[in-house]
């Protein structure tokens, strides 16, 4: 295929796909809506294949570490074992039940769930040390941030109202008024920014998502 087609084909696909769904969002034409519905099912299935990239990338990195016996190669071995073990179990040995298989659920509940939630919960420790070491009343603005944070922390846990009953309503007011105003301004701004980015992507003015050399 010629270079020109190679370059423009993805841009044309993006443009058509984008217009197709934008039109569908605002127009009520049964046949057209049905077509877009099928198109979305099509995209849902196609997008599911994107996981292959992560799989192959990780396999390549860790197989290399393993074969070259780099430092920590046994971790790579564990990673590959976990990755292929769970995959083979879920896809081939679960008898078509996939994630609903009881043995699969066992590994999911006893390995994946504790690991994910424990790694996430480390943030609790970090937030304590960061609050202590980095959270400073450097300026008037930072002080406002600090005071507002302390009020909210007290107001949303049982201990706050136990000390001072009014702190609950004050927290509710902060959430309902300044918080809403600030977040709303940000949201409107971000929405416009994304909208403008979307226009550029659809027009082919922004091609980063297509990879290098697009």
């Amino acid at each position: 295929m010629s270079v020109a087609i190679r370059r423009s084909l993805p841009l044309v696909i993006t443009f058509i796909a984008g217009l197709l769904v934008i039109g569908d969002y605002y127009l009520r034409i049964p046949d057209y809506n049905k077509l877009v519905s099928n198109w979305m099912s099509f995209v849902n299935v196609a997008s599911s294949f994107a996981v292959i990239i992560g799989y192959v990338t990780l396999t390549r990195i860790h197989a290399r570490r393993l074969t070259q016996r780099k430092a920590g190669w046994y971790n790579s071995a564990a990673l590959i074992f976990a990755m292929y073990g769970l995959l083979i179990w879920g896809v081939f040995l679960s008898g078509g039940k996939f994630t609903a298989d009881s043995a699969y659920t066992y590994w999911f509940n006893n390995l994946y769930v504790p690991l994910d939630s424990t790694i996430f919960s480390m943030l609790a420790f970090y937030i304590v040390s960061s609050a202590y070491r980095a959270f400073r009343a450097r300026s008037a603005e930072a002080t406002v941030l600090l005071v507002s944070a302390v009020i909210v922390m007290l107001g949303r846990a049982p201990v706050g109202p136990a000390i001072w009953p009014d702190i609950g309503p004050i927290t509710s007011w902060i959430m309902a008024v300044p918080n809403t105003a600030g977040m709303r301004g940000i949201t409107i701004g971000v929405a416009l920014g994304v909208l403008s980015m979307g226009i550029r992507v659809l027009l082919g003015r922004e091609r980063g998502y297509l990879g290098p050399g697009a």
């Binding site: 960061s130 609050a131 940000i186 701004g189 416009l192 003015r205």
Partner: protein
Amino acid sequence: MMLATLYMSVKGIRKPTIRKIAGLDAIGEAVGRATEMGRPVHFTPGIAGLGTDTGPQTLAGLSVLSHVAELAAKYKTTLWTTIRIPSVQPLAAEIVRQAYVKAGAPEAYDEDKIIFLSDTQFAYASGVVGLMHREKVAANIMIGGFWAESLLFAEAGYLTGAIQIAGTAQTSQIPFFVAACDYCLIGEEILAAGAYLSKDPVQLGAIWGTDYAKAIAIIIIGVGLVLSLAGNNVLWKLLSGPLWT
């Protein structure tokens, strides 16, 4: 209207200028200090996928990366770039390579310093934390879409004593960047920063266009507030009713 401003900017009919963005000027200072200390710089464009509505943040991060890489090449400082989204990796590598070529130091470019760690959020996060500790980074620049890992990064950067410049449009994470980093770009400032650095007419035109849209929002809210306080909700009805059928 956005199309019109974009068109005018691209065709060079009017070149919009971007106001000063404080955090950006600090990048030179941060890279410079890392050079003096002989320690590396770490950059991450965040963890947002390109095909999502948070993708623009990653692209803004990549614009900043180009600037950072150029400075690093000029000062001959090691630059580590960590990636969470597999498809961003080749993109970032190309940007860094070009920046090194532009700075006249293509031989200093090292592909292995732009690393894909994992596409799982926390696995990526712990990879970055590990790298920052191991390499003792002296400047940590984070521009892009960040979620819960923001605090981990900021804390790790703090522990290694790095100058930290951060920016994200994820509202729930901005407070940590404000609280823990030396300079923070708030929300959309990162998108403007991308345009400011690249001087790309397309991006500049886009910022210009959104400014007009914001002005319209401001006017509608102003008029609408006066009306609604006077007990008239005609504008509200217009916005929430007949526009959508």
